[in-house]
Homo-oligomer: 140 residues x 4
C-alpha cells in the first residue's frame, strides 16, 4: 500500500442547475464531477475513455464510496483531486473535492474500477499500472 | 395541415432531484420528459430508438420550441401527450404536458425531427408516416 | 442488528437519456433512482422531504456505498427496494435495485443519513424511528 | 431591432456523462449549457441569479427555441456566446454555441425571459435594460 499522493487536480465550478431545492449541489452530481475528473485525468495521460471503449476495453466502476462533508453551493469553485492505487484486480481511484475559497473538504471518495476486455475481467491494464506507479511516493 | 389529435399520452411524476433552487422543475428537464415520451411512444409502436440506431437510422431533433406555462413542482403528477405531423422532410412532434391535479398546461412544445440514414438525410421513414396518418382526424 | 426485511419497493423504467455512450445507465443516475425511491417511500409514509425542509429539518446523506453488479440498459424495467436501520445517530437506508425481467441484482447500496434540525445534528427523528421499527423482523 | 453583437462568451468542454447512446451530447444538455452561460454572464455583471431569487425577483424563461446544427461529442471544447435584446416585456437572450476546433455552429438559441417580482410580471429590470443597451451596436 505505502504512501500515496494526488497526481492530478482540476478546477471546476458549481453550475446552478446542479443544485436542488435544498440549495446545494445534489448528491448524485458529485459522481458526475468524480467521473469527469477521472476522464480528464485519463485524457491528459493520453488514455481516451471513448477510444478504449471502441477497442473493446471498458474500465467499469464496480463500487463506489462517497463521504459527504461540506455541501457545495451555487457559484462555488472547487478543486477535484485524485490518485490511483491497486488492490488485486481492482484499480482504486482515491478522489477528493475541496472548496476553493477555504480549502474545506467537500467530499471524499473511493472508486473501485475493474478492467473488462471484450466482456472478460482483465487482471491489469498496463496504462493503468503506470498511473498507480506514479501515485506512489518513493521513500528511502 | 388539417385537424390533429393527440394519439399518445403517458403519466409521469416529478422527481425531487429534477427540481432546482427555485423549487420547480428545471427548464432543461422538460426536454428529458419530452424525449422520454417520444421514445415510449415509439416503443409502444414497436419502433425502438436503440434498435433504429443499430441499423444506421437516427431520428435527429433538428429544432425545438418550448413554451413554459406553469412550473411543475416536487411531487406533481403530469400527463405528457403527443401527436405527429409532417412538413416537407420534417416530422413534427407536437407535445404538451399537463399537470394532473387540475389539468393545467405546464408546457407546450414543437419538436422537429429529421431522419438520417447512414449519415444522409432521408425524405421519409414509413414507420413514421404511419404515425402521422394516425394523428390526422378524418372529417367528412 | 437483527434481521431486516425490505418494507418498500417501487417499479421504475430506464429512460434513454439516462444512458451514456457505453449504452448503459450512467453510474451517477443510480443515485437519482435511490434518492427518488427514498423520497417516494417517505411520501407514502406521509413524510414529505420538501415539507421537512420548510420546517428546518433536513435528512442529509452523510455517506453512500454503491456496489454495481449488472448494468441496466435502455428500456429495462427495475424494482427498487429499501429498508431502514439505525446505528448511533445515523439512519441507514439499505437499498437494492433488481432488473425486473430476470430479478438480477443491478446495484446494492447503503445510504447513511443524519438528521439536521436548524443546522444542528439531531440524535433522532420519531418519524424515522418508526420506519426502522417496521424494518425489523420479529423473531420468537 | 437594429444591429446587435455578442457581448459575452465562455469556453466550456463536453463531459462524457453528458453524452447519450448516440455518442453525442444529449439535446437537453444544451439547455444546461445555455442556462449556465446566462448565469455566468449575469454573475460577471454582478447580477446573481440566487441573490435575485432571495429578493423575490425571478427571471423566468417563458419560451425557448433551439436549432440543432452540429452535434458536439465527448471531449469537444466549445464557445458559448450571447447578447440580449428586448421586445415588449420580454428580454431575449440570443445564444449560440460554436465548436472550438473549427468554429462550426453547434446550436443557435433564442431564450425569452420575463421578470417576475413577488409573483407579478414586471415590465422591466434596470439591470437587464443595461445589458440590452450594451448589446446594441451604435451606427452612425
Amino acid at each position: 500500500m505505502g504512501v500515496h499522493m494526488y497526481i492530478y487536480e482540476i478546477e471546476l465550478k458549481v453550475r446552478d442547475y446542479e443544485c436542488d431545492i435544498q440549495g446545494v449541489v445534489n448528491n448524485s452530481v458529485y459522481q458526475n464531477y468524480l467521473e469527469h475528473t477521472r476522464h480528464e485525468f485519463l485524457e491528459k495521460n493520453n488514455i481516451s475513455f471513448a477510444e478504449l471503449h471502441k477497442k473493446g476495453i471498458d474500465a467499469m466502476v464496480s463500487s463506489i464510496e462517497i463521504a459527504y462533508k461540506t455541501p457545495l453551493k451555487p457559484g462555488d469553485n472547487f478543486i477535484s483531486k485524485l490518485y490511483v492505487a491497486k488492490e488485486g484486480v481492482r484499480y482504486i481511484f482515491h478522489q477528493a473535492i475541496y472548496r476553493k475559497s477555504d480549502n474545506k473538504l467537500a467530499i471524499k471518495a473511493k472508486v473501485n474500477a475493474v478492467v473488462v476486455i471484450n466482456g472478460k475481467l482483465a487482471t491489469a491494464l498496463p496504462e493503468f499500472d503506470d498511473l498507480v506507479a506514479r501515485s506512489e511516493v518513493k521513500t528511502v
